[in-house]
Symmetry: C2
Subunit: 268 residues, 2 copies
């Protein structure tokens, strides 16, 4: 399967213009799956909850969803993108998967970063895995990367490709995705945005360098830090089924969960 | 506190000669704690269990233990080193901590690598944490690094410095220790050996590049890939108590264990 990441600089608040920009970038690329950044059509740097709400949409119906559904059908490709999701009174930092046959899935960011905590409600849905074109996909968003349990949980549930929309302001994540892929024997695609957003008291520089990594820690695509670009890699899901490190070691069979702890508990 | 790693090339089977070599390397270095590689006096590449047994010692009494105890007292420094531990009929890949006042602690490698499974019994003791000179230390050995639960468990139990004797044949670990330190906000010291061992059907090249890493992912000491050397860094345990990423994010408080899974369980 061919996976593509879309790295670009959205204009804050211009949902329609940003969708058009992304569509024109993807127009001439053939891929089975396009992964776009976190909050990639709304922009990232809200200065109030009211502003975030004003750019939010429902995961079940809305301008962005309908545009992406039509594009997915036209391209015969799956799409994953981040958006501010309104559900009743709650606002989530969400990413949505859409397949050409209209299937949709959402993931709500479990670990909110910095001022996101002021606008968004922490995710309330399980880390889940779903099939697409012969493989199993999992989704996480940006800062989720720093919690090893996120990729681990997705991988233990069977994910073979971790789809990772991001708006990274630090550069540790890109390098650490090699560790995430090695320790779980999974593929990952981190679609990060570029550019800066200076709004209110905030002044964020986003770090680009989107990448696709293999279960062996190989960098299959490495993006620039400052250019709009599409990155493509052909991946074989089979490479993530085998958890063997060598003929004596298997990343799953070798685990010793009876010695692992999930909660702080002092010394024994 | 000042931590030192001792990177060197042992001669297979020459326990006494290797101890002398390590002592002469450490002679003129002042440090609070010296961390040496895995199986650093016996050598690594056993070709049978009988051979490993022939080089094994008790964790409670033995030539190596007594030599290291005397050296620890003379240097007024803690020591951590790896050795093949005989306990009854079992043989473990163990590392031992010795303090100048004679306190000892052992850790038995939980995740055995490759043919180690033929000679050693998997570790049967909890990942534990102990105090030394104002900080809390945890120990893991070599291949343990690839299981994120090991550092996570030690850190959740309060470890501020992960002491990591190693005989690495790949080079992913050294880079990944940055991720391990960042995700847990801990220090780490990876003491790796250098040189090659061609014995029986095996031909291992060890990768050196020992390093000391801070809770912010900074490399405080970077060793060469092929030279005997001592690496030193001054670390402040306080830097590992604070798990804050910024004033809104805390690596411990932000965890969502209710969404994490420890066991494979398919999709929900």
């Amino acid at each position: 399967m061919r996976v593509a990441l879309v790295q670009f600089r959205p204009e804050f608040g211009d949902i329609s213009g940003n969708i058009d920009k992304a569509f024109s970038m993807m127009e001439n690329t053939e891929a089975d799956l396009f992964v776009l950044p976190e909050l990639c059509f709304s922009g990232y740097t809200f200065t109030s909850k009211a502003e975030a709400l004003g750019l939010s949409e429902s995961a079940k119906d809305g301008f962005t969803l309908n545009q992406i559904k039509a594009f997915s059908l036209k391209k015969d490709a799956g799409m994953i993108y981040g958006f501010p999701e309104k559900d009743g009174d709650s606002l989530y930092n969400t990413c949505q998967f859409i397949s050409p046959d209209g299937e949709t899935r959402i993931y709500r960011k479990l670990h909110l970063y910095y001022y996101e905590k002021e606008w968004f409600t922490p995710g309330n849905l399980p880390l889940s895995v779903f099939e697409f074109r012969g493989g199993k996909l999992g989704m996480m968003i940006c800062f989720d990367w720093i919690f090893p349990e996120v990729c681990r949980t997705l991988a233990l549930k069977g994910a073979q490709l971790i789809c990772h929309p991001a708006n990274l302001v630090m550069s540790f994540c890109q390098q650490s995705m090699i560790t995430r892929c090695l320790e779980n024997a999974v593929f990952s695609v981190t679609a990060n945005r570029i550019g800066s957003e200076k709004r209110g008291e905030f002044d964020f520089e986003f770090t680009g360098a989107s990448r696709i990594v293999s279960p062996k820690g190989e960098i299959l695509y490495q993006g620039s830090i400052d250019k709009d670009e599409i990155g493509v890699a052909d991946i074989n899901f089979e490479d993530s089924i085998n958890k063997k490190v060598n003929f004596k070691n298997d990343l799953w069979a070798d685990r010793r969960p009876e010695f692992y702890r999930m909660e702080p508990n002092g010394e024994e």
